[in-house]
């Protein structure tokens, strides 16, 4: 449950993060209302993944603050994690486990039980008992997608969801995002497929060198 329904689903204020001496994010500020789909565009290295990693609590911001579902990403990490899921560049999968085992591990830890249905949904039902080490990059992406959806998140961060997928996979991502939106979830999509995502996104921000250089649509 979101803490305050009137509050933005995601709020970032002067968020900055550096790796060594290089600022990957610098004073990023935006708000997204619940139930919206926001596109995050930008070139490689513009800070999209770092922004998603900060918002999903994978890393802490060095400056500024951000709230997800009304909870501070630095001080209320478990609350943020209860409500959000990240589809990252890395698959978060165990190579020696099968597709089903990978989902079962997550399902047992968070107390869910819908792995077979999710594997079917991402088109991997036929390979459920094959180890991930035998999967192609696109299949890993589909399985990672299923892993993120297993958490039934209200706020979803999709970092390059179309990457490595075939045309059928593109349609799958479109359909899942539409369904998430219809269910009232807030979705942030970092992508280079700008034209495709612009077709369904409610708003967007563009990053360059860690800074917001453009916005479009109604952010809140």
């Amino acid at each position: 449950m979101i803490r305050n329904v009137a509050a933005p689903a995601i709020e970032a204020m002067n968020v900055a993060r550096r790796y060594g001496r290089r600022w990957a994010l610098a004073d990023v500020t935006f708000r997204v209302a619940p139930g919206r789909v926001m596109m995050v565009a930008g070139r490689n290295g513009s800070g999209k993944s770092t922004l998603f990693r900060v918002l999903s609590t994978a890393i802490r911001p060095d400056r500024g603050w951000a709230k997800v579902g009304g909870f501070d990403v630095e001080h209320e990490r478990e609350d943020v994690r209860q409500r959000s899921a990240l589809l990252a560049h890395q698959s978060y999968l165990y190579e020696s486990l099968t597709a089903k085992e990978n989902l079962d591990v997550v399902a047992r830890i968070i107390g869910r039980n819908a792995t077979a249905a999710l594997l079917d949904r991402v088109g991997l039902a036929g390979r459920a008992n094959d180890p991930v080490s035998t999967f192609s990059a696109g299949m890993r992406k589909r399985l990672s997608f299923a892993r993120a959806l297993l958490q039934e998140p209200r706020i979803v961060f999709l970092d390059e969801p179309y990457g490595q997928l075939d045309p059928e996979g593109f349609q799958l991502v479109d359909q899942v995002i539409r369904e998430l939106k219809e269910s009232g979830a807030t979705v942030l999509v970092a992508t280079h497929q700008v034209d495709r995502v612009a077709g369904y996104a409610d708003c967007s921000i563009t990053l360059d060198a860690g800074r917001v250089i453009g916005t479009s649509g109604e952010l809140e």
Binding site: R81, A85, A88, Y92, E95, S96, R108
Partner: protein, 218 residues
Amino acid sequence: MIAALRKELLLQWRTRAQFMAVFVFGASALLLFSFAVGPNAEILRQFSAGFMWLGLLLSSTLTLAESFHAEMENRALEGMLLLPANARVIYYGKAIANWLQLVLLGFALVPVMVVLYDAGTTRLLSLALVIMLGAAGLSAPGTLYAAMTAQVRSKQTLLPLLLFPLIVPALLASVKLTSLIILGDPMGQLSSWMKLLTAFDAIYWSLCGLLFGRVVEE
């Protein structure tokens, strides 16, 4: 925590060939120690407990470091930490799985010790208890340090450097207890060493669980 433990046991089962390699490493170490001492049966028997624990200690660094290999592939550990579950659950799942593996390794090294050093005992239950407590003393801080060094390039070097000084009390107590079981305990020292080892285990199993989240999260 059961779910996290099941995951660890499943991962260990999938890489079970590695356990055999670690056992062969430990047994080879025991064999080399016996060569170093020479054919003096009395000295071999006297030092057998120390050699067995040294063999287990050296093998443990391989086991502990390897236990985070799968977690670093595809950043699986980060994926686990981002789940709505306490980081302690992940730590205890891994620490218990490492403990089980070290206990098995310890049990497997006992017959090697008996054959090479003529260090047999009829007090097998006491010996099993000491191996279980000693392995617990290695696995709790070992799992924490393995997590800390997992992302470092020279982890195989760094892990023993950090771990060995810390576990001296547990190692000392384990060697002494094993020695007392094999050679006899005329002064009744067994219970005091057992208390030291139990206290070490209790402190480190509590402390490392509390620290794990802070250590692994960026």
